[in-house]
């Protein structure tokens, strides 16, 4: 069931991201794919293997990038990190999580803007997006941390 939800939500997000791009809201919106990965690594017990991460990143790049690099590489790094780390993502401190979120978002956006030719209006995303992504994560963390402490 979780797998089905993961793939369906992924397809839905591809369409949603296209709408965001078409309406110029993409620049001020959190990166829906990063948020998607965050939710699944947080709420689903079994983390998918690295190849699936790479393939999902590749699929996103196919639709939203001129060269299949930004999401493929970012997802590769995320997959490696989540699979190789000794601690679960939710077991890390909030500060560490925020720093990682900002770093990954920044890397992703730099790659996106290097590979693609976005309009000048979109360039504000490089700054805004890491902040919004981390704010979203902080909100999730505040809501869920008590439950996590019980389950760990």
């Amino acid at each position: 069931m979780n797998e089905a939800i993961r793939y369906l939500s992924f397809i839905f997000l591809i369409i949603f991201n296209q709408i965001l791009l078409a309406t110029n809201l993409w620049a001020i919106f959190p990166d829906v794919f990063l948020v998607h990965v965050l939710f699944f690594t947080t709420f689903v017990k079994k983390i998918p293997n690295i190849y699936l991460f790479v393939f999902m990143g590749f699929l996103i790049d196919l639709f939203f990038s001129d060269i299949s690099t930004p999401y493929t590489l970012t997802y590769l790094l995320i997959g490696l990190y989540l699979n190789f780390s000794s601690l679960k993502w939710i077991q890390r401190s909030l500060l560490e999580q925020i720093i990682l979120m900002i770093a990954v978002s920044l890397l992703l956006n730099i790659l996106l803007f290097t590979v693609n030719n976005f309009s000048d209006d979109m360039s504000k995303r490089i700054i805004i997006n890491p902040l919004i992504n981390s704010i979203i994560w902080v909100l999730v963390f505040i809501n869920q941390s008590k439950k996590w402490l019980k389950n760990i």
């Binding site: 790479v54 590749f58 196919l62 299949s68 690099t69 493929t72 000794s86 389950n151």
Partner: protein, 265 residues
């Protein structure tokens, strides 16, 4: 719930193969131009619901626009009705007891005011409105009224339009009377909706607020059309026995555009 830790060698091989996998995918997509194709596919895929949505929205907008047009038409019709009813009320308020209001309009042709020369009305001694020549009138001088209210007479008649000189125009004269039998020839003042006349009949009396009607003596205006009421009485400077009567016309050109008028043949 401790996490399973992978040995270093496995990590290394996983890392290497996943990187190889990523590079392979990037290379394949680049060499086959998959990105462009899939982006076009996504645009095409989303184009169908987008077109459907925009069609639905357009139809809804069209429907709303039609409703707006209908409502605007209704408002315009109601405004016209209100205006005409107000005219009737004024007409009844100012009519003579013996006067048959409908009689004045018998045989008159209906048409509409198409424009009003507002600039010349305000600045200069040229008071004109233009009416549609829907009845294809040819040369001649015709009296024009709006309901029972005298308006002026025709000046130039062309195929599509008739120029009407208002009573307030300085070149316009009209024979008028009040209910007590006072007669005079009034002349346009060129100022707003005012005409003036001199008292020539000492026998009859008049006072402020008296309503004046057409006499019909001039052979152009039919008798008993309502003209205006006295707003000022002043002594004549040339003759101490004469008085100058200032009469305000009931017809208001500012409210007259696109309203019905009658042409008296």
């Amino acid at each position: 719930m401790a996490k399973k830790i992978l040995p270093f060698q496995k990590k290394l091989s996983f890392g290497f193969f996943s990187l190889f996998f990523a590079v392979l995918l990037i290379y394949v997509s680049y060499s086959l131009g998959l990105n462009e194709k899939s982006q076009r596919l996504l645009v095409k895929f989303l184009n169908v619901p987008q077109q459907f949505l925009s069609k639905v929205l357009n139809e809804y907008q069209e429907f709303e626009n039609q409703k707006i047009v209908q409502l605007e038409e209704e408002i315009l019709n109601l405004q016209n009705q209100i205006y005409e009813n107000e005219l009737k009320i004024k007409s009844l308020e100012n009519s003579q007891p013996t006067n048959n209001l409908d009689f004045n309009l018998r045989g008159a042709l209906d048409t509409y005011i198409s424009s009003f020369d507002q600039i010349n009305f305000t600045c200069c001694n040229k008071h004109r409105v233009y009416i549609n020549n829907s009845n294809n009138l040819e040369d001649g001088i015709y009296a024009i009224s709006q309901g029972n209210f005298a308006l002026g007479k025709t000046k130039n008649i062309s195929r599509g339009e008739i120029e009407v000189r208002l009573l307030s125009d300085p070149e316009e004269y009209i024979s008028i009377k009040n209910m007590t039998g006072f007669f005079c020839i009034a002349k346009g003042t060129g100022k707003g909706r005012l005409i003036s006349c001199l008292n020539e009949s000492k026998a009859a009396s008049y006072e402020l607020g008296d309503t004046f009607f057409t006499t019909g003596f001039d052979g152009i205006y039919p008798p008993d059309l309502i003209v205006g009421k006295i707003v000022d009485i002043s002594a004549s400077q040339s003759n101490i026995f004469q008085q100058n009567l200032l009469i305000e016309l009931f017809f208001d050109p500012y409210q007259s555009i696109y309203k019905k008028v009658n042409v008296h043949e």
